[in-house]
C-alpha cells in the first residue's frame, strides 16, 4: 500500500461492514469543505448517524514559529491564521502584547482599529453567506457577496496598499492614519451596504431551499454551547447575548452604540439571522467610528510613544534596522510566568492569544485560541443529538470555512414548515363531484405505502380544484395539501411554478394570448393592444364585471396558425384584432 493510500485508510466497524450503515470518506479535499478537512461519516441512508472530523491537514506550527521569531516578526503570521478576516487576528495579537507590556493605545488608533475590525468582520460574514449560498445552489448569492467583499478590499487597499493580508496594525497603534477622504469613502460604503444586506435577506430568508436546509438543522442548546466553549454568532444563535465588544470592551468599543442580535432555537437558520443582523450592526459601528475619526479624534496620535516596545512610525527614520528591536519587558527580572490570554472578538467568535514572556527577545510560549477549533468540535454533539439528520450544513452556518456539503433530500420535519395540515377537511371543503374526481385520479398513480397518497397526483388535482373554486386561494391550497398529506408549502411551490394555476382571483373567462415569437411577428401585439383598448384590461387584469381576465402565455404551441389565443381549452387561430375582440364579446 502506498503512503498516500495509507493516509486515507479507515477500518469499517462491525456495523458498517455488515449492517445497513455505510461509512463515507469525505475530503480532505472536497469543493464543499472550502479548505482541507476530512470527515469520516457513518450514514444510514442519507442520514448521518456519526461523524468523525479529522483536522491537521493544514497544521503549520505557528506557535512554534512564534517562539523562534519574536514578537514583531511574527506579526504578519497572524494574518494567515484566518485569511478571511486577517486584521482581526492582528488586533487580537496586538492587544495581547499591549496588555502584557502595559502599552496605552491612543484613542484615534483605537477608532481606526474599530473600522478595520468591522470591515474584516464583514468580509468574513460575506464569505459565509456567499459560499454557503453557492453550496445550496444559490450562485447569485456568491456573486453579490463577493461584489461587496471586493469593495471592502478596495477600501483596505486604499488604506494600506494591500487587499487580503495587509497587517496594518502595530503594537501600540496602527501603521497608517486614516485620512478624511478615506473615512468618507467608508461612510459611503456603509450607507450603501445596508441596502445590500436587505437584498441578501430578500434572496435567502424567505427562500424555501435555504429555509429547509437551515431550519431545525444543527440545533444546539444554550447549555451545550457553553459547555463546548462556543463563542461568537454560534453562541448568540443559541440565545445567549454575550459579545466581548460589550461585555469586556477593548479598543474603545464602549463608545459605540450597537445591538447584540440573538437567536432563539440555536439552529443553523438562527445563526444565519444573527450574522445578517450583525452585518447591519457593523455598518452602524463603521459610521460611528468614521464620525469619531473626523470629529473628536481628528489629528490624534496613531501610535503609542513608548519606544521600549513600539516600533517608530514609518515616516520617521528607523534606527537599528527597524524590525529587529527586541520587545523588552519592563522588568528584566520579572517572574517567569507572566502569561496573558487576551480574548478579542473575531468574526467567528472569541479569539485569544496566549503569550508568556520572560523578558527576552522571544516569547517562551505562545498559543492562539482560535474560535474555529471549538466550533469544529461542535460536529460531535450535532451528530449524536436527537436530530441525527444533522448534516455538515449545521456547521456551514457556523463558520465560513466549513461549507455545507451533505444535503438530505427529504427532511422528516418538513411538515413544520407549514400550518398544521391535519385540521383541514377537504371532503367538506370541495364538492362531492370534485372529490370523486380526486379519488379517480389518485388511483392512477403509484403510492409509497398503503396509507400514503400519491404525490404525483398533485398537478391534476390542482386542475380540478381550480375548476371548482375558480382560483387557488391559500385555503384551497391548504385543503389540497391536507387531501394529499403534503405540507401546504409543497402545494404552493408547485402551483406557483405553473402559470396555468391562478393564485389570484380571475374572471369567469381567462383569455390566454400567446406572445411567443411566431405570434409576436404575426400581430399578437396588435391583438393585445386592441383588447386593452376595447375592454380596458392589460395582462393579468380582469374586467370590472368579472367577465374576462387577460393573460399572456409564453407559448401556446400553435405557431402554424399564429397569432393564437386560448379560452377555456379552446384555441382561436389566425387572429386579427377585430376577430379577437369579437370572440371575447361573445363570451358570457
Amino acid at each position: 500500500m502506498s503512503v498516500e493510500t495509507r493516509l486515507f485508510e479507515f477500518t469499517p466497524t462491525e456495523e458498517t461492514a455488515h449492517g445497513d450503515l455505510m461509512t463515507l470518506n469525505y475530503g480532505p479535499q472536497h469543493p464543499a469543505t472550502h479548505g482541507v478537512l476530512r470527515l469520516l461519516i457513518t450514514l444510514d441512508g442519507e442520514t448521518i448517524v456519526d461523524m468523525d472530523p479529522i483536522v491537521g491537514y493544514l497544521h503549520r506550527g505557528k506557535e512554534k514559529e512564534a517562539e523562534h521569531l519574536g514578537y514583531h516578526r511574527w506579526f504578519p503570521f497572524t494574518d494567515r491564521l484566518d485569511y478571511l478576516a486577517p486584521i482581526q487576528n492582528n488586533i487580537g495579537f496586538s492587544i495581547a502584547i499591549e496588555r502584557l507590556a502595559g502599552i496605552e493605545v491612543p484613542a484615534r488608533a483605537q477608532a481606526i482599529r474599530v473600522v478595520l475590525n468591522e470591515l474584516s468582520r464583514l468580509t468574513a460574514h460575506l464569505i459565509y453567506l456567499g459560499t454557503t449560498g453557492i453550496d445550496l445552489g444559490a450562485v447569485t448569492m456568491f456573486f453579490h457577496c463577493f461584489k461587496d467583499r471586493e469593495r471592502i478590499f478596495d477600501l483596505l487597499d486604499l488604506y494600506s496598499g494591500h487587499r487580503t493580508n495587509p497587517t496594518p496594525i502595530r503594537f501600540g497603534g496602527t501603521l497608517y492614519d486614516m485620512p478624511q477622504k478615506l473615512t468618507s469613502e467608508i461612510r459611503e460604503f456603509a450607507r450603501g451596504f445596508g441596502k445590500s444586506v436587505d437584498e441578501y435577506e430578500q434572496m435567502l430568508t424567505g427562500n424555501r431551499i435555504w429555509y429547509d436546509r437551515n431550519k431545525g438543522v444543527g440545533k444546539i442548546t444554550a447549555e451545550q454551547a457553553i459547555s463546548l466553549g462556543l463563542t461568537g454568532p454560534n453562541l448568540r444563535g443559541c440565545g445567549i447575548a454575550r459579545d466581548l465588544r460589550r461585555d469586556e470592551p477593548y479598543d474603545g468599543y464602549e463608545h459605540y452604540d450597537f445591538e447584540i442580535p440573538i437567536g432563539h432555537e440555536g439552529d443553523a437558520f438562527d445563526r444565519y439571522l444573527v450574522r445578517v443582523q450583525e452585518m447591519r450592526e457593523s455598518r452602524r459601528i463603521l459610521e460611528q467610528a468614521c464620525d469619531r475619526l473626523d470629529g473628536e479624534l481628528q489629528g490624534g496620535e496613531i501610535l503609542a510613544n513608548d519606544r521600549r516596545y513600539v516600533l517608530p512610525p514609518r515616516a520617521r527614520p528607523r534606527f537599528d534596522g527597524g524590525a529587529h528591536i527586541p520587545i523588552q519587558s519592563g522588568d528584566r527580572h520579572a517572574p517567569p510566568h507572566r502569561r496573558d490570554l487576551l480574548r478579542h472578538r473575531g468574526g467567528q467568535g472569541e479569539l485569544g492569544f496566549f503569550v508568556v514572556s520572560k523578558g527576552e527577545r522571544t516569547p517562551i510560549a505562545s498559543g492562539s485560541a482560535a474560535p474555529r477549533s471549538s466550533t469544529c468540535r461542535r460536529f460531535a454533539p450535532c451528530r449524536a443529538g436527537g436530530s441525527s439528520r444533522t448534516s455538515s450544513r449545521s456547521s456551514g452556518a457556523s463558520t465560513s470555512c466549513w461549507g455545507s456539503a451533505i444535503d438530505e433530500l427529504q427532511s422528516p420535519d418538513s411538515q413544520e414548515s407549514g400550518a398544521p395540515a391535519a385540521k383541514k377537511d377537504p371532503r367538506a371543503y370541495f364538492t362531492k363531484e370534485t372529490i370523486a374526481k380526486f379519488e379517480a385520479l389518485v388511483k392512477q398513480y403509484p403510492r409509497q405505502s398503503a396509507e400514503s397518497m400519491p404525490r404525483a397526483a398533485l398537478i391534476p388535482i390542482l386542475h380540478h380544484a381550480q375548476d371548482e373554486k375558480g382560483w387557488l386561494s391559500i385555503e384551497t391550497i391548504e385543503h389540497v395539501a391536507a387531501y394529499l398529506g403534503l405540507a401546504p408549502i409543497q402545494v404552493w411551490e408547485t402551483a406557483s411554478f405553473y402559470p396555468m394555476f391562478h393564485r389570484k382571483p380571475v374572471g369567469r373567462n381567462v383569455v390566454w394570448v400567446c406572445r411567443n415569437i411566431a405570434c409576436d411577428l404575426r400581430g399578437a401585439p396588435d391583438v393585445i393592444a386592441k383588447i386593452r383598448e376595447r375592454f380596458g384590461i392589460g395582462p393579468e387584469e380582469t374586467t370590472e364585471d368579472g367577465r374576462v381576465t387577460l393573460k399572456l402565455a409564453e407559448c401556446l404551441g400553435g405557431c402554424t396558425a399564429a397569432p393564437v389565443m386560448e379560452i377555456g381549452g379552446q384555441y382561436h387561430e389566425n387572429l386579427t384584432p377585430a376577430k379577437a375582440t369579437g370572440i371575447i364579446d361573445s363570451l358570457k
Binding site: G56, T205, L228, I240, G263, D340, R343, A380, S417, I489
Partner: protein, 212 residues
Amino acid sequence: MNRQESTPQGASDSAAQGRPSAKPSPRERMERCHSALTLAFGPGGRYESWDLSVSEGRDMPSMEVRRGEVSPTIEALRDDPALAFDQLSYLTATDELPEEPRFRLVYFLASTKYSWRLKVHTKIAEADARVRSIVSLHSGANWMEREVYDMFGIRFEGHPELKRILMPEEYGHHPLRKDFPIEGIQPDRLYREWEAARNAAYGEGRGAGNGR
C-alpha cells in the same frame, strides 16, 4: 414558516437584562473576580481546606493547584453559583525546559454570568506527564486535551478518545516541546516509505524535493 419568531431583531438584549450594566475596566473586573475567589478559597472560605493559591494577574486572576486537584477545582469553579466559571476558553501547556517540573498546564476559564476570566495552572513533570481529563466537565476540552497530548505528550486520563489531533497517529514526537527542532522531524516510517517510493520512481537521490 413563521420567521418573525426567530428574527433576532428587537430581542437583542432581553437575555442581557440581568447583567451589570456598568462596564468595569479589565483591572476592576480582575479585582472583583479575585475577591470572589479569595472569599471562596481563602481563609474562612467554603473551600478553605483546599491546597491552592490564588493570585492577582494583569487581566485575570490565576490559581495554582496541585496536579491531582485540577479536575475537582474546575468542577467547583463551574458549579459554585458565586463563581460560575461555566466555560472553558482554552487549555494549553507550556514547556519551561530546563526547569523542573518542566510542563505547566494552563486552563483558561470564563464566566458567562459575570464576564470574568480566570486561569488555573498546574505543574507537571515529564516523568509522570498525566492529569485527569475534564471532558466530562467541559465538553469543549475534548479537542484541546487532544492537542496538548499531541503537542506536549501530556496524557489525559479518562479522555474518551485520546489520540493525536494534528500530527499523524504514529508520529513519535511532540512538536511544541522545547527540545523539538523548529525545522521539524519527518515521521520516520512515512518518510522511509516516501523515500522508497520516490527512489523507485526517479532513481536514487533524484526527484522533485527530497522531503526533508
